[in-house]
Subunit: 677 residues, 2 copies
């Protein structure tokens, strides 16, 4: 324990220490833990620690490690929030959260409610009405298979001020009796609602399956079950793997170019710590490039996924995948040669179960290098001499499975000081029943009888900036035409940059048609070449933000999703833009409060929040499993260095890269095959 | 010759046939060829040929091969345009182009004028005024180096109706006497103008070097020469290559997954032809995926680069890199293990020199496969079973060097029917003198005394569509909120898709905040699942279009650059959006005429034109050579197939991919090193 860095992920011992102390505190009450994880130290303490760690000047200060816990006592509201000093083993605080506060879902809690719902007599009675035993499915190789019902618990969402206990809306599906059958292909038309903690039945919702909210029917025997559109090779009928794909092997015979020392990574001038946690998946800390500070902390901090299907109860489909569930909690255990290629370093995540016991989720983060084409190149056309460098990248990847959907989060570092934040959405569309195959304009028919509704993904990335020092400012730069017919614009081709400062906490509007870019600058550090402050640029794609009405709960709960770029003054514990507790929340109590225009954000300790948005009208190519949809933004030096910081990257050569001519390879592999016979 | 496909690139014999016939035609006149290349067959003939080639139904029709040539006679205007039937060896037509038409620059023509300008007594006299022999530069390892002057010929651009003969504006720079010195680091302040054909001196321009157009000085002895910011490792002082980058080897022991048969490529369900040409670099033809037709022809067809610096003569800096020079003419010869990695197939380009002799530019196109992360993935959280596929890509790459700048054009195909069109801009910024180090808002000081002006790159990609058949329509789809408080939108979360048809030739406005996407659909082919027409989507980033005033020549000459997406009805020989002849053009005679709203474009033979735009305000990190700036758009199936067409891609496994744990690799490479000692 003595060797832990202040940012290192929570340990098993720390989880046990915290949950034991809290159990003791509550005596006879049975505690159900909703979430337990490490809490960052106060920033001022951390900064002191980091500066001494980096520059010396005394012994490393002692910074106690803290763990937070959300829990219920005796499976009842209210939700408690406690903070424990696990270094010195005492409870710092344990408080009841405000009335109606609901904690995040726990993986074990979800598994338990899923089973409870399926086993419940009312649900069983509803299932019995389908007369499933009259049907079987004959698979060409697997033979006769029965049908079975799958229960998919969903966060309940919000549509009233009255739902103040944790609830679950279960969407029910039909599958064949094989573990990998794609139940999303046959959505059923009833949807039981249960209490999450007590497992009490609340009511049965019947789902609309026509073009509007009115087409609702009672549960009747199924006369005919449509063919399930399967994705698993074991189930796809007459599955024939595509031919011709030859191995492409990525090897690093001399080892990788990165070093790992606990949570500390160094690679090609970069230094940072990568630390897993249950809510965000991971965060990076203390980011430096070529010895200069860039960010104190950076991570994905929230994603909301509102659906545009207004038919009740689908109107309540608005997941907060981080706040309601957690990307660490739902992280995939990544496998060698599958989720990333090359030489791979894996990191783990530790969570607490509902009882307070530590659970290991192995290999939730993979880190590796990749080649991504050319970094820079110039050919002197007079001599035909070229300077060519390859773009090597370092990738941190985590993948969360939140029920049907998969989110792949990549932070990609290049050799020239830039970070690409890339998100890929894959997995399976959330589907709605559509018996009559109605063509609608809010969803796409992705299989007979199945609609996938339009929806949005709005991800918030938080960058606690420390660009060349503690005090930063935020500007946005537009490129605009010069006024016409001026003496110095006689030919009307002139354009110039207009710089605007963000003076107060708030948001910046998107403006792609003036080429607007956001920059974090340091007014105390002037670039000796440009004679202007150094900076880092956020280059974001112009996108549609949250589409729901400002009157809707969707927006009240995710005000952050109304704007692309936010600036706040650093505030302790201000990490999550839709607030600390999002599950069944009534309103966003994050950015809407912190970015209210009160604080001055000029030349101070600033935090920027970048909303990456994807409006997703599904297409048939995305069913039964969707090819990754990409979105990304760039964080790049903008006159931060005095010249290209990658000039020292060694030139590309085939001695190093060992590529092969097609003709050679074809001949070689042909003779190879022959000799193998 | 009998084996040539109708789209195969021009051959040496064809060039000689064409230029010889034209020389014969003009008898005693000396011909200077400005450009010679293959001309596509008439589309109706080509379609007949392709359909019989693919589906049978008779012998392949005979389609004669044609070559076009632009040339001057006796190095004088006018410019001629001829078309030659090289199969039957006769001149189809030879015509004088309209008055003032200037042909594209020839690489040999540029080399000749560059030498002529430098050797010219007036220019030599101007150089002498600098008193360069008073200065030397001491390089730590190369010792004393003299200074020398470099001449960079530029297309003249346009600012009046009077400049009707081919002209060259030369920008002059200082370098040290070493072939790889970065002359862009010291721009000189005089700029001679010459006639391109006759090599006659026209006038000497003196360049403004202050904040506006007024700061012009005569050429004086240089009192002090600032340090050149070099990029070449031989010249960078005390160059130390960055340490720690280990080899990352991409190998395909069983050979590549693609087949090459002449110009025909097949890979993972894709079929198309890749054919080099001097103007576009390359075009792809007859594009099919999984047996279904997508495009007749697709290519980059133009790029204009207007500068926003309004100070004369910089206001005339507006390159048309394809029309004025040609991306095939300026293509790099790509080298194994440098410009792309793995198993590489190269293709060549053939051009004609000014005399009409064929010139081989070897290896101008490289084709290879790459891994780019995950294609799709789903984990069944109940069983922990995952379906994981890697995204293998097939890349066609060409790289053009147009003086200072490099453009990397990638067409990237995935296994699910999508094409990514990716452009990377690299190379060296075009620089302007700035003696007084004036901070301006139209340029960035990138080195002491050097400004790099803001500018734009506006690339036009043309897709001659054949989506599931000959007749296509174009729509744009917006996602918009439902009206509030309707009975079916009680909770105000609803949104829906609004489809609009492009009925007449013209452009579509950008609309990122309604998530607008452009789609080419086939109204005669209804997707049996969605019950709507099949389509392919163009997903383009919202960007600033050309910034100059509509009054300016910049816009008159590149009207296409005012809009992102254009739709026309197919017209024979309508290939280039700014017109066939762009060099010193007075107006765009391309899209502005073809997309004038006259033609109906619904359910007909349509062509779409996508303008990819980058406004580029330079930063210091982009000097002395810039790390690649990316831009891209996606062309993806949008309910074209009935389900994910990549379901048959084999699942990822480490048997196939042979990745390695970090710990293993570090230990292995450590012991490896030991045993090597």
């Amino acid at each position: 324990m003595a060797n832990l860095h202040i940012f290192d992920p929570v340990t098993d011992e720390e989880i046990v220490t915290a949950t034991s102390l809290l159990k003791d505190l509550h005596g006879d009450g049975k505690l159900s833990f909703s979430q337990v994880d490490r809490l960052d130290p106060p920033k001022k303490d951390a900064i002191k620690y980091l500066d001494i760690e980096r520059y010396g000047g005394g012994p490393l200060p002692y910074v106690p490690r803290r763990v937070y816990a959300y829990y219920y006592v005796n499976n009842k509201m209210p939700l408690y929030k406690a903070v424990v000093n696990v270094s010195e083993k005492f409870v710092i605080s344990s408080k009841i959260t405000p009335e109606g506060t609901v904690g995040p879902l726990q993986p074990d809690g979800v598994a338990a409610i899923e089973k409870a719902i399926l086993d419940h007599p009312i649900v069983q009675a509803e299932i019995a009405k389908l007369k499933l035993d009259k049907h079987t499915y004959s698979h060409p190789s697997l033979g006769k298979l029965k049908y079975t019902v799958i229960c998919e618990p969903w966060m309940y969402g919000t549509d009233s001020i009255h739902d103040k206990i944790p609830m679950i809306q279960a969407y029910m599906y039909l599958a064949v009796d094989h573990s990998e059958s794609n139940h999303y292909s046959i959505p059923l038309k009833f949807s039981p609602v249960f209490e999450y903690l007590s497992h009490k039945f609340v009511r049965m919702d019947y789902l609309p399956s026509g073009a509007d909210e009115r087409f609702i029917t009672e549960t009747l025997p199924l006369s005919k079950i449509p063919a399930i559109v399967e994705y698993h090779p074991d189930l796809v009928e007459d599955y024939q793997p595509r031919e011709g794909l030859k191995p492409l092997i990525i090897s690093q015979p001399e080892g990788p170019s990165f070093n790992v020392d606990g949570s500390k990574i160094t690679w090609q001038g970069w230094e940072f710590r990568v630390c897993s946690n249950v809510r965000e998946g991971f965060a990076i800390y203390d980011v430096h490039f070529k010895g200069r500070s860039l960010f104190y902390r950076a991570s994905l901090v929230e994603m909301t996924v509102p659906y545009l299907d207004s038919r009740p109860p689908f109107h309540r489909k608005q997941a907060f995948d981080l706040g309601d569930c957690g990307f660490g909690n739902t992280a995939n255990s990544l496998a060698l040669g599958c989720h990333c290629l090359g030489v791979i370093k894996y990191l783990d995540t530790r969570r607490s179960d509902m009882e307070g016991n530590p659970v290991l989720i192995p290999s939730t983060i993979c880190m590796h290098e990749q080649d991504y084409g050319l970094l820079f190149l110039h050919k002197n056309y007079r001599t035909d001499n070229s300077v060519v460098t390859r773009r090597r990248e370092f990738v941190i990847q985590t993948i969360a499975t939140v029920a049907n959907y998969e989110y792949i989060i990549n932070m990609i570092f290049d050799q020239a000081g830039a970070i690409t934040v890339q998100v890929r959405a894959t997995g399976i569309l959330s589907t709605m029943p559509n018996d009559l195959n109605n063509v609608t304009d809010f969803g796409t028919i992705v299989a007979p009888g199945v609609t996938a509704a339009f929806h949005q993904h709005l991800l918030s990335f938080r960058f606690d900036t420390r660009v060349d020092g503690d005090k930063n400012s935020v500007v946005y730069d537009d490129i605009v035409p010069m006024e016409e017919d001026l003496p110095h614009n006689k030919y009307n081709v002139g354009g110039y940059q207009k710089r605007s400062f963000v003076e107060k906490s708030g948001s910046v509007d998107q403006s792609p048609f003036t080429n607007r870019t956001y920059k974090v600058i340091n007014e105390n550090s002037i670039n000796p070449v440009t004679l202007k402050p150094v900076g880092y640029k956020f280059e974001m794609p112009a996108k549609q933000m949250i589409l729901a009405s400002p009157k809707s709960y969707n927006v009240k709960r995710a005000h952050y999703a109304t704007k692309q770029f936010w600036v706040t003054k650093y505030g302790e514990d201000q990490l999550y833009p839709a607030g600390e507790f999002t599950n069944q929340s009534q309103r966003d109590n994050g950015l809407v409060d912190w970015a209210d225009g009160t604080d001055s954000v000029r030349n101070t300790d600033t935090v920027v929040w970048a909303t990456l948005a994807l409006t997703h009208p599904p297409v048939t190519e995305q069913f039964p499993v969707m090819t990754s949809d990409f979105m990304q933004f760039l964080v790049t030096p903008a006159s931060f260095f005095t010249q290209n910081p990658a000039l020292d990257v060694p030139l590309a050569s085939n001695n190093f890269n060992k590529s092969v001519y097609f003709e050679e390879s074809v001949n070689k592999s042909a003779s190879c095959c022959k000799s193998n016979l």
